[in-house]
């Protein structure tokens, strides 16, 4: 489609104006506040042992939750688009439900199941596994809140590309894994990219649910967002903004590295 230059510029202006008001201004303010008092205080705030541990913990959660959700997401998206099975429509709608649950309730739900006195609580306790108020519970919360992204990003593209190429490949004797790797994956790679990036960003920024199941032990179960809140409570806004800045940078880095991987793959193929 080749709209006229005028309409192209109008559309661009409207889109960028909207983004400026809603996105760039708040994000810019975070960046400004981070370095308001110079680089030094911001750097100090995010390099204390407590802060570094919080970042490390957040990254650990991303490294577990996002790959797990990616694998789950691709399998589920393929099942939902390419297969017919009973309960498909319900499953399709249920995928989004994790978002509709208020964060405190997610924490509550996990405690009801995995906590002391919860459904699996005594079994877990008998086996000496602590889930709630320890890293596993926080990972569960992170998985919960970032679960829908990959499924939802991949599904529309899968539907859009259809099955012709896949069928052709399989007629020519490709195994289903080869078909997936050579045909399907390249086609969904951008969707996968954005799914992973969104899930990562969400996992980085999650606060409410993680806060309920973390126990907030300083230097142990404190993630970066919990650290931000704790800094806010101590009137250390520079620290709070600086840590947010780091989270924003981590999200951007994820996007850039995924884009890079994507381009390289395209060159290779």
């Amino acid at each position: 489609m080749t709209p006229s230059r005028v309409s192209r510029i109008t559309l661009r202006t409207v889109a960028l104006g909207y983004l400026a008001v809603l996105l760039a201004a708040p994000v810019g303010l975070v960046f400004y506040r981070t370095f308001e008092h110079g680089f030094g205080p911001a750097w100090q705030a995010v390099t204390t042992p407590e802060a570094l541990h919080a970042f490390w913990l957040t990254i650990l959660m991303v490294l577990v939750a996002v790959p797990a959700n990616t694998v789950f997401g691709v399998i589920t998206a393929i099942a939902l688009v390419r297969h017919r099975f009973p309960g498909r429509a319900l499953l399709n709608a249920a995928i989004d439900l994790p978002f509709a649950v208020s964060p405190v309730v997610i924490g509550l739900a996990l405690i009801l199941v995995y906590g002391e006195g919860g459904w699996f609580g005594s079994w877990l306790a008998d086996h000496g596994i602590q889930v709630i108020f320890a890293t596993p519970g926080m990972i569960l919360a992170t998985m919960f809140v970032s679960l829908p992204f990959v499924v939802r990003e991949v599904m529309p593209v899968l539907r859009e590309i259809g099955t012709e190429q896949e069928q052709a490949a399989s007629t020519l004797g490709a195994s289903s894994f080869q078909t997936f790797w050579r045909i399907t994956l390249p086609a969904i790679r951008w969707a996968l990219t954005y799914g992973v990036v969104l899930a990562t960003a969400r996992a980085l920024g999650e606060f409410g649910a993680v806060s309920v199941v973390s126990g907030k032990l300083q230097g142990q179960t404190e993630t970066a967002t919990l650290f931000v809140e704790q800094r806010f409570h101590q009137f250390d806004l520079t620290g709070a903004y600086a840590a947010s800045f780091v989270l924003a940078m981590l999200a951007i880095a994820t996007l850039l590295s995924m884009n890079l991987a994507n381009r390289r793959k395209r060159v290779a193929s």
Binding site: M1, A94, L97, A109, E153, E160, I188, S244
Partner: protein
């Protein structure tokens, strides 16, 4: 073509994963909601404050995702089809509403559009503020859902239509949009669900005035704080039920749109 065993295995693993992470915990919430029987559930869900919060939440979410559907598609289109300096920077900012801790999102929105607004716009503690916060946290959904489809979209059809004399608007409406519907609706569905459950970014800027700007998640938090876990769970169940109905409707709509135009 599909070898059923493999697909079934994959589905089985996905099902177990979904159950452990989401379905069993949600079942626990539902069961908690009915701790005091059907009557307890009903009275908790239909108390005046709860109904008022539910109404605000659902109406605000609908408005927000409607706006998202339009602006998100537009932004995605500009990011894929347009070309301008700094495009990649804009593209890399899109996901930040998720990565920013909600309290910081609340703080900055309050600083920009609150009582000491540098641009003279003070919407803090009104229903507009609720919408603003929701628009911020749901911004990436539609953009990121539509973007990959637009990238993959075959442009031959569009060019053919254009060469046959169709105007850009007609091409967009007749050729591009039908292909985008499933993606737009997927993004809208996610955004709707997120709006329904959002908490952190709202609490600072909405003011949490009961019957006025208090959304359901804040109401639920208040119930938990008042030691009424069952009532909190009951309101959550209502929200889940509403979401499920809306999501089912959206996916039906999406299937209908897909079939209709394909």
């Amino acid at each position: 073509m599909p070898r059923p065993t493999g697909a079934a295995h994959g589905r089985g693993a996905a099902g177990i994963y979904l159950s452990l992470i989401v379905l069993i915990p949600l079942a626990a919430v539902v069961s908690k909601g009915f701790d005091n029987g059907w009557d307890g559930f009903w009275s908790a869900a239909t108390s005046p404050a709860s109904v008022s919060a539910l109404k605000l939440t659902v109406v605000a979410s609908f408005i927000v995702v409607a706006i998202n559907g339009v602006t998100g598609t537009l932004i995605a289109w500009v990011l894929v089809r347009d070309d301008f300096r700094g495009k990649s920077i804009v593209n890399s900012l899109i996901d930040l509403p998720f990565a920013l801790p909600t309290i910081v999102a609340g703080l900055t929105l309050l600083a920009l559009y609150g009582p000491r607004s540098p641009v003279g716009v003070d919407v803090a503690y009104t229903r507009i503020a609720v919408g603003l916060a929701l628009l911020f946290v749901t911004l990436p959904f539609v953009v990121r859902a539509v973007q990959p489809v637009l990238i993959e979209l075959d442009r031959d059809m569009e060019e053919a239509a254009a060469s046959l004399g169709a105007g850009p608007l007609t091409v967009f409406r007749r050729i591009v949009l039908p292909n985008l519907w499933p993606a737009i609706l997927a993004g809208v569905a996610l955004g709707f669900a997120r709006s329904i459950g959002e908490f952190g970014s709202l609490v600072l800027i909405s003011g949490n005035l009961p019957f006025k700007t208090e959304v359901s998640s804040v109401f639920i938090f208040g119930q938990i704080e008042s030691d009424r876990v069952a009532a909190a769970a009951a309101v959550s169940v209502v929200l889940l039920a509403i979401s499920l109905v809306v999501l089912l409707a959206i996916s039906a709509l999406s299937r209908w749109a897909g079939r209709h135009d394909a």
